[in-house]
Symmetry: D2
Subunit: 392 residues, 4 copies
């Protein structure tokens, strides 16, 4: 029998923190804080990245008690009831933000001003000026800054972008898209922070529509003007305090908007949180003069591509299984079609983030990107309120 | 061996004209004239209708020569280079109109004024006032009047209407839809009458969008206001006269518009004649508070229906095969899923028309319906030109 | 106003019988007799064929009364309670057979021996020796002979055959296929002739499986050996005479069989008349060394084709809309994707038949083809009974 | 500013090993060893399980060098070139086996005999007698034993099993299924261990078919007899040693087999590693007297279910998005349709394993299950060789 040898940690370990590695301070200990933490723990192993495993330094939530419980469960060394303590922690060099939306920009700005790299869950703000301030702070202190629009990191979207940028589907004419869910279909579902404009900002538009906008921004480019309509279908929902009181829903259940992009493309986008039967219907179709692309995240391991080439009798939308030819996929599986999931998109995003921190490579959804989206949301809401086209 | 007996025509014959039956004068001898004639010949046999086979009396086109050739091929007894002669023919009691769009309303009005029943291919007009005049003439002379919006006659649409009207999918929130084709994707395709505003009226909107509007009108109801954008992607096309000259395309290749319906439903509709890879993509999704309906005419023998009932673990969009439970289908096949085609929609339409003439039953897409659609088209074009919402 | 001119029938008329044209004697006045008659009436008009409209001469059914009623409804001039009278009728030059299965071969043989062209609904027989006799009679008298395997006439199948024969999908490895319906899912559905082996022959295999076999025979080639299993799920069904008595179901509800083809391809085929939720699921996948073809008749206006060429990142099954590039389609519509239906397959079949009669062109599903299929059915049943491979 | 508090590990930590927790010895450091390790690291966090994070104690591969490199990368404390050293390690209480197939049973038996819990990648053996010996060893020493048939752990399959066991889709009539990939479509792809019968056992049948069999075993039950055919399409492949020599492919590229199950259900199963365009096509359709289930792992976040209830006009296959109602899903996401991936199936499997070890709950795919599958594979190969039905 051969001997068994004690393994001594090496600088190349994927599973152990590096001395000069990434040291995380997490602000927000809810579902999304958990999701981020999982991505932190898996990125190095999946991507066999040079950055090594990150160190989970500290976590904050609204009380010391909640934070301590989360630290224990998720594996952070320190806990605090004060998010400023995490930012101030000298061990932390990356602040992750998964608070309710209204706090994003304030925390992000503070972290950037403290010289910490910042990973902020989307949206960057509920008010564009706050997003702008965070962005400018990050520029001033030259920290890595990324907003968690993870859906744009799907290998399918890297492929779509390639098809568009290469001219393979010709001049782009039009985009249609929607992000629909039915999470709030039940009119008896209670009032939550998501219905409170001061906390959540926009409704379906802020929660779901922003993901769709992030894809349009990535794939088509800057928005020039929008014409929108919104509808709040369920106007009051029961107060969760059990008082029997009804509270007024302050934001949109459904928003539809037409767009003219800066490059002349026109588009028709929409979103609903009351779309019966739709669970994660982030869908679009992009039509160009030489081809088209159709995507639906409910079938997230394929993308449909039409190219107007070859024999006409053979032409049709090809149902392309996502695979190693599409950027990001090969970290997960050697063969196409095996099946990535939502969590894997967060891992791809975190890989981009960690590489940016350790190697200085660029990130796609930086704070400028996040700010643009917040401006678009704002313009859409204004357009709906004023019943007119709004320029960006 | 038993004897073989000479069959003597009877009043119930499905294949022989009845003395008091339908006697057709066709105006327009192109592809659509042929399509109508086929539907005339099949309706009685498919529906085993009380109306018997129609008599093909006369056909007109732009010249006597063309008309005579068509009469021979299609089986009409008389031919004329003058459409007024067909209307004036005392044998004719139903005038069918398949001319280019700009002539529809004028011919329809003349036929109605002559007391003839009228079957007019869509759209009823290229100008709403002309449609209105035709409609009012038909009302005055009390003739049967029908515009050929055959897609609303699909058994799937009868079923969708039932689901909506019964409240089974709840209060309707939103409709999204498109009618896309790629017939004009090639920028080198020649200029035709379809690009000439004076002949065709609107472009994609008039040719395709009107079908989508007819479905929205049927399923959701009256439009209250619209906000639109149009785009002409290929601005000039080669003159078909071979001169090498380019002619200016005068109407829309793509049109997108948001809608508020009179009942508060909101919608997002669009159409393109340059949608790469789309051949007959007449698609919609209607979302209600208790369910949803999704349809795509490229898979015209099924419709997807979500009903928010039963065990939640079992819920999903049901892919319902069109069958005898859906109005109109059983004339064709005893079992579901056998496969109806486009031509069958025209047969269902003609059955409705023939029953209206012989039994006085109502028609769905009468001239008032056609007039409403023409008004909507007009409002959409104005909205796009003026960049503002237009009320109907 | 221009004059209107009386049209005089010409030799090129699509809608009037030609003097030397096709003169039909129909044997069987049920649903399928009606379906054939519709195809007879439409073929000339759709295909603008040189053969002109056929003359509907005579029809027979089991009684003079039934035949006379059918003659009136369908437009045949003569009627008889004796099928031999129709064959003997000197005016008839094409005998169409839509009787119950067990009579097909006997009538077909008699018609062929009388020197009449024969169009026999599938299957050609319920016993291969009878099919062989009919085939040999047709060869002796040199009449046109065709078995109604209309599904092989779908433009999609002409395209599939092209892809296979050209080598574009490489050497064929394997075919999988099924033809499933749920028409007999209900165990309380009454006993009919379809359950009576002496009348119907095989059950699901004879009714549905034969269509699947016809596609495999067309696309892959001759069968060399089969290994099968059958199952009769509902062993007794109520006698339709209302006696309350149960009658024994004598044939298969489900049949599965593996195949080795003469060219070495292997296959797995199956059929069920108790396949819950399946309405017309005639499906196959053919896999070759360079590509694959997948078809499902429930979406009969598309076919999925994979070709292992081009950039690997772009590869996927192309959902090809059936269109003018696929043989037979252009008779119906100028553009792809418009939507043909089941009845159109019969029209394509009848066009092939009429051209064969008038122009001497070959037919695909001749009696030899029909005989081969009957031999395969027989071998499958023997294989299931003997639990062993059976060579053909 | 509130203070930040040092977190001290607690017994409930999801991210830190428990004193009495799971201590893993991994045998095999390839792709699958990595995949297992990821699942080990994520299970506790996803399932918030009582078992805590496992300790990665030791890893073995064919040489000390390879093992040491893997230990470093994957985070194991010790490394060895001898798998027996890992089994002998007193710190290890769970042995994971990801070696080439031919070694599985030997290592599994040795681990079981050493009193270690065993997690063996599928198949359990390449020869049923070896699988039986491993199974019996595990029974004797009463250790937890699980074979990595992870596809049966998909929440969709838990749901399918529920539908079947509850009788909701009636008496099961038939299963059809296939597991197809095109990984070896290229005839120039080199010879690997997968083509060597002594190392891999069966070809497509062993690699892919076993997954399909595992689903049939779970959902339908024990196999009673099989009739099979196999085909090796590419008979020789280039030796990877670069000699230019060709090596004979010793096992099946395609296998098709019919099955009779012990409960009378009949089935038609197949598998190919040369199925052009298919990437992970693990598909089946199960038909019962009251409904049907259709699944395709290429769209792994949905399953199609037909239930023959409700109004007939509304019936169709429901496309059910996998969600919290389906067992295992809710560990990942609160809402349906978010998208699990292949790796998540391994996490569900590992959760079952860890719970079995710490709480004594049962596992589904134990060594008896694995042994049954190996017997079926053996019977299928014998049936193909002997061209006869083989009973199990």
């Amino acid at each position: 029998m051969k001997s068994i040898t004690q393994n001594t940690s090496s600088p190349n370990s994927l599973s152990k923190p590096k001395a000069d590695g990434i040291r995380i301070g997490m602000i927000g200990a809810g579902w999304m804080g958990h999701a981020h933490t999982l991505a932190f723990q898996n990125a190095s192993s999946m991507f066999r990245g040079a950055y090594g495993a990150p160190e989970l330094v500290a976590i904050a939530d609204v009380s010391q008690e909640i934070a301590t419980k989360a630290a224990t469960e998720l594996g952070y060394r320190k806990a605090s009831g004060d998010w400023r303590a995490v930012i101030a922690d000298s061990e932390v060099n990356l602040v992750a933000i998964t608070t309710p939306n209204f706090l994003h920009a304030e925390v992000a700005q503070a972290a950037a001003e403290a010289g910490k790299n910042v990973y902020c869950e989307k949206p960057l703000s509920t008010k564009p000026e706050a997003a702008k301030a965070a962005w400018q702070a990050a520029v001033r202190t030259n920290v890595v800054n990324l907003v968690g629009y993870n859906n744009i990191k799907h290998p399918a979207q890297a492929y779509a972008k390639e098809l568009i940028d290469s001219g393979e589907i010709g001049e782009i004419i039009r985009i249609s898209g929607t992000f629909d869910q039915d999470v709030l279909l039940d009119p008896a579902a209670q009032f939550t922070w998501r219905h409170d404009r001061s906390v959540a900002g926009a409704g379906a538009l802020g929660d779901l529509g922003t993901h769709l906008i992030s894809l349009a921004q990535k794939l088509i480019g800057d928005f020039a003007s929008v014409s929108a309509i919104t509808r709040t279908v369920v106007k009051q929902r029961p107060d969760p305090n059990g008082s029997g009181r009804m509270r007024v829903v302050e934001n949109d259940d459904v928003t539809l908007f037409n767009v003219v992009f800066a490059n002349g493309v026109i588009g028709s986008l929409g979103t609903s949180r009351m779309a019966a039967g739709r669970k994660h219907a982030l869908r679009y179709e992009i039509q160009g003069t030489k081809g088209a692309i159709a995507y639906d995240q409910e079938q997230m391991n394929e993308i449909k591509v039409y190219q107007n080439v070859g024999k006409s009798r053979d032409r049709g939308f090809a149902v392309v299984p996502i695979g190693p030819d599409h950027k990001g996929y090969s970290a997960f599986y050697p063969n196409a079609g095996v099946g990535i999931g939502y969590a894997d998109l967060k891992i791809i995003e975190v890989d981009e983030l960690f590489r940016a921190i350790t190697c200085g490579t660029p990130v796609e959804a930086d704070f400028e990107f996040g700010y643009k989206i917040d401006c678009i949301v704002n313009a859409v809401l204004r357009s709906a309120a004023e019943k007119t086209w709004i320029d960006l």
